[in-house]
Amino acid sequence: MQTFPGVGVSPGRIIGTVRQMPKPISEPPAGEQLAGDTSAEEATAGLKAAAAAVHDELKTRAETASGDGKAVLEATALMAKDTMLLKNAAKLIGRGTSAQRAIWEAGASVSEMLHNLGGYMAERATDVLDVRARIVAELRGVPAPGIPSASTPFILVAEDLAPADTATLDPEKVLALVTAGGGPQSHTAIIARSLGLPAVVAAAGVDELADGTEVYVDGAAGSITTDPDDSQRAAAEAWATNASLLAVFDGKGATADGHLVPLLANVGGGKDAVAAAGLNAQGVGLFRTEFCFLERDTEPTVEEQAAAYKSVFDAFPGKKVVLRTLDAGADKPLPFLTDATEPNPALGVRGYRTDFTSPGVLDRQLQAIALAEKDSEADVWVMAPMISTAEEAAHFASMCTAAGITNPGVMVEVPSAALTAESILREVGFASLGTNDLTQYAMAADRQLGPLANLNTPWQPAVLRLVGLTVEGSRAEGNNKPVGVCGEAAADPALAVVLTGLGVNTLSMTARSLAAVAAVLKTVTLAEAQQLAKLALSAPSATEARAWVREKLPVLEQLGL
């Protein structure tokens, strides 16, 4: 038996067999020449055959895909047999370069050309690199990069997953996600929670496990064990039973003594909203409007936007829907708003700040929201992401008023906003804490980096203190303006108790987590939650804060959370 410790990011106990995500394709050595007995003609013909095979494979995948994914796959398939790419490579082969090195260099120069054109073309630059890697894999006779296909369900093990991998991740085939890299806020974690898959990240060494190895994964404890024993088999069986119980939320978030904590859902569009309503979410705490337009290279019209927003409002008649204005930038670029060449995009022109460089887009979005609200029955709240100062909050509020929106608010993600919450809340009606970015900025630790996983957790006492300061700011302002949490922190049942104890009014999370959070919340009184919040704040480290709080919540172990 061998155990790999990692960071648990999505609960669940499961036994299954490992399938490794193929390793990224390594660069063919610079200066690699044609093998002695291979002519340039033979090498070129081999390259063309490999390119054709990649084209056919992508084309087949495009046939079964739908929507935007289909269009991307179709365009990528065409790139595989693109004459410009292949002719450039053939020229290099003619000069004696090996086929692998030739396609590698040809892909690099085309990709750079597209990158330099900026905007939509820059986005496609990575597609060229993907095609290049697939052709090299074909030439080497190794598996193509990407999620392996298999007929039986498996535990997917990877270095880390990219947002693009999710398009091809089939939740019917994947039992759990395990990564050697990545952090608690990485895309792997977000994907796992939204699909309800157990997941462990930053488990060093798991990428050495052989395909077909049977392992036990505990997504709450954060560990992977080979040769599972009887107690682990029993735990996996118990989880299978509990999982069905934990899948039902009765639509009433409250503590044991009846203190109400409405539990809301994070959604990215109408389809998510309908699913969240089906899981009894008490409203929407975060509608990520940019997710409606991620594949777009031009600004959607006011009418298009209004239709997209109304589809979410209509899923929650009479209930609260908090809409976040376009949060473009950093890991979610929108070509019509963001500059792909910024050296430091997480600290760049993103979120509300895009109004500085692309004025008008936000005004038109607010008009679209007002238009959608007019013929809907939802209680619509609107907030701006990445607000840093009270001045910005005041300006956003005036823009909302001009558009006829009555309840403007702000996201608290930048530490300066938490520190000045009192003056910010004088300008707007509510605040919502985005704990993912708040953690990344408070700890100065990139969300996507595995080596920084221990810094990048909302259990950091510094982050909890910023949450507490935001609540205190609201109390000092004097009008009981609501403070919610809509980051991934709210989906962690133990942390949800701490946030409630800190005085947060509402918790918004991926809809799959509602039932587990509700089940744990109703086992504690408000006074107990306040005690646990104090305990967490007093901890010297994130690890101890988490361990101390979990120790006082035995229900977590019983439920396998």
Binding site: L78, M84, M113, T298
Partner: protein, 92 residues
Amino acid sequence: MPERIATIASRSGLHARPAALFAEAAGEVGVDVTIAMQGDPEDDALDAASILSLMTLGAAKGDVVVLRAEGDGADAALDSLVKLLETDLDAE
């Protein structure tokens, strides 16, 4: 050499989906077709069946391009491709 002039009708210009559709069509007409911005020298013309060339050409909505082809069926091929360029492919 037969040539035709066409004005790009697709809203997003000649990239994204319109470029993919056009490149695929140009690859299936049976003759080699080149594309260049109007006024550019013929030597700078790019392969119309290459989606990457089309993307680097960067033709926007309203831009005028020149298509050229030689050989059997060149005229018919050019006519069908002009029609495609002058359709708003984003609207489909």
